[in-house]
Every structure is written in C-alpha cells, then in structure tokens.
C-alpha cells in the first residue's frame, strides 16, 4: 500500500517536471520518472492478486520506454545540431 502512494507521488512529480522543465533533456528525464510511476502503479495493483500478466506487460513497457527514450534523445540532439536550441520555447529572439 505504501508503494501505491509512492507510485502516485512519482506520477505527479514526473508530470510536474514534464510540464514545467523547459530543457528538452530534462523533459525526457521527467517523462521517464512519470513512466516509472505508472509501471509501479501497475505492479502494485498486480501484486495484490499475485497476477503474472501485468508483470509481463510492465517488462514489455520498460523495453518500449527505453526505445522511445533513445529515439527522443536522438531527436533532441539532432535539433541541437541543426538549430542550436535546447528547448522548444516560442522565442522571437532566436529567429
């Protein structure tokens, strides 16, 4: 039950970071915090019934989250290489 509350807190924290952090790298990080919370929430609900199905799906989820993170970081780096921007802020001074 403690971990259910921990997972809820992680989801809230990750969401807050995703919304308020301007740097893209930090947004990716916050997104992974959020993902960890969602997986944990899934796991807490599954652990109550000793159910292997959600556990297997969380493993699938972690692998897909890694692939998505890798792609997101490559996009961030490419954006940085091309425009020199580290954020996606609407900024007139850059143009």
């Amino acid at each position: 039950m403690i971990y259910g509350l921990v997972a809820s807190a992680l989801v809230a924290l990750g969401l807050y970071g995703l919304v308020t952090q301007p740097a893209l790298l930090r947004k990716v990080l916050a997104f992974n915090l959020l993902g960890g919370g969602v997986f944990l929430l899934f796991g807490v609900v599954a652990a109550r019934g000793g159910d292997p199905v959600p556990q297997a799906l969380v493993i699938t989820g972690i692998v897909v989250a890694f692939a998505a993170t890798a792609l997101a970081l490559v996009l961030v780096l490419r954006l940085f290489q091309i425009t020199g921007a580290a954020t996606i802020a609407e900024d007139e001074t850059r143009r």
Partner: protein
C-alpha cells in the same frame, strides 16, 4: 521491520525523484535518475516481481542512464535560453496544483481498490505445463500475450531504423556512433577486458534460465549489450557499419523467428502464434535465442545512435 524498510525505500525513491527534477545541472540529474531506477528495482523486488526488477535495473536505470549521459555530454550551454523559457512562479504553482490533483486521485484509487483482488494467476498456472515453461512471466510473454511481445520486438527494430534515419545523407552507411580511441591502460581498459567473458556467460545464462526462473531474453540481451558497449567505449571493439548485412540480420533475426513460428501456427496449430503442444518448448527456446541476439544488437545500436563516422 519490513514496514520500516518499505517506508524508508518509498521515501528514498520519492526523495531521489524530487532531487532529479530540482537540481540545476544536467549531469547530477542523470546520476539521480540512475539512482532512482536502481531504487525502483529494489521496490520491484519488494513487490515480488524479480523479472521486472531485473529489467528495470538493466534497462530503466543502466541503459537509459548511458544514453542520457551521452546526450548530456553533447548538449552544451543553452543556460540563458533555458532560464528565459522557465515558466514563472504562478504557472508553476498552477501546474503543481493540477499535478497534485492527479497524484491525489491516483492515491485515492489505490487506497480504494476492490477486495479480494481480481487475478488471472490461476488461469495462467493452469496452462503452463502444456508450454513446458515453469516461469509464469515467460509463459505470459511468449504465449498468452505473445502478440504484445512480438509487437514490442518489432518496435525495437523500428526504433533502430528511426534513429539511423536521423543521420545526414553523407553519413549513411557509416559506422554508428562516435569512434572511441583504444584505451591501453586505466580502469576502463581493465574492466573492458575482464568483464565481457564473465558477462557474456551471465547474459546467456539469464536468457536461458528465463524459462524456469526470473530472467529472459530482454534481461539477458541487455547484459550482452552492456558487455558490447563496454568493449566499444574502451575502443576494443569497433561496431560494424550500418550498411553491414550481418548487423542488419542480427537486428531482425528475433522478430523474423517470432513471425515465422507465428505463421507456422496457422498450419500446425490453432492459428497465429499458437504453438503445437508437442514442440512448444523447443519453439519458444528458438524464439528466445533469436530474440536475445536481436535485443542485444538493437540496444547497442540505440545507445550508439545514428551513423557519425565517414562512409566505409
């Protein structure tokens, strides 16, 4: 005693997560994130989900940490731009309140779950003997939710393709990622010579034992990939160019074996991805072996990133 342990672990996870978000520099944030991943793996052990803990430690903390560090080293500066784009206190307060409401709603949902908990554990256990697999997690991944696992294997291939496609035209066909100079001495050189022989055995063992105990293709493949990355970063192993046929086959071998066996299900069993009971175990082992290779190859390539060297 265990309650105290859970309490400390839970507070530590939340504390590290807060620090990861709050710290100003990128580098300590990534280190915080790796610590968060490892603590989360301990939480999974406490929940009795050792398979998930292995995956979280290897992929969620380890591999994600490595690619984040690669990105941190390359993303320099931008401090003024980031400060200018940081939302003001009022916006942050609003975001904080909204996110807090989401967290509270989830907490209330967790606290008011139905009793007794619904579970598919009995249904899974009933059919495990037919598969010849003793680890229920592997049983679910390969049989009941085989389609999900297949799609995930395909996702890895597409992720590699998408990352490669970020390369400028003139770099296409070259070696992926930076080329590291050979380290002739120092701790990295020692570890890169000492660990791979052990790690390769451990990785294959974890993949093999997944049928009966915690482990499997993703966890084992990640360990194999880590050994490859170690040798690559130390300059002892050069990645093949993206134009290499062998490399491309290694990435698609797992999904191809999975789809091939799945299609055979139409002829010899009840349909796509259903295994004939007599040879279910050998077929699952074949898929797991090919998938371990493909997972390892895909992970190394995702860490390396798009081709950067000159065309071979």
């Amino acid at each position: 005693m265990t309650l105290l342990l859970d309490l400390i672990l839970g507070l530590a996870v939340v504390g590290v997560a807060v620090w990861t978000l709050a710290v100003r520099e990128n580098f300590p944030a990534v280190i915080g994130f790796v610590a968060y991943g490892l603590l989360l793996a301990l939480v999974w052990v406490r929940l009795g989900a050792v398979d998930v803990a292995l995956t979280e430690a290897a992929l969620g903390a380890g591999a994600t940490g490595v690619i984040l560090l690669f990105a941190v080293v390359r993303l320099r500066g931008g401090r003024a731009e980031i400060d200018a784009a940081t939302p003001g206190p009022r916006q942050r307060l609003a975001a904080g309140i909204l996110c807090g409401v989401v967290g509270l709603a989830l907490a209330v949902a967790v606290l008011s779950l139905p009793d007794p908990a619904p579970s598919q554990a009995a249904a899974v256990a009933r059919h495990l003997p037919e598969l010849g697999v003793a680890n229920p997690i592997t049983g679910v991944l390969m049989a009941y939710r085989g389609l999900d696992t297949l799609l995930e294997a395909v996702v890895l291939v597409f992720a590699v393709l998408a990352i490669w496609s970020m390369a400028p035209d003139r770099r296409w066909g070259a070696v992926p990622g930076p080329v590291f100079p050979v380290q002739s001495n120092g701790p990295l050189s020692l570890l890169a010579r000492l660990l791979p022989p052990i790690g390769i055995v451990v990785g294959i063992y974890i993949a093999w034992v997944g049928a009966d105990a915690p482990g499997g293709k993703f966890q084992g493949g990640t360990i194999l990939a880590a050994m490859g990355i170690l040798a690559w970063v130390a300059g002892l192993w050069r990645l093949p160019p993206v134009a290499s046929r062998g490399l491309r086959w290694a990435v698609v071998a797992g999904p191809l074996a999975f789809i091939g066996v799945g299609l055979l299900g139409f002829v010899f069993a009840d349909g796509f991805l259903s295994y004939p009971p007599a040879i279910a175990k050998p077929l699952i082992l074949l898929i797991e072996a090919a998938m371990t290779l493909s997972v390892a190859a895909a992970l190394v390539l995702m860490v390396a990133g798009p081709p950067e060297g000159r065309r071979a």
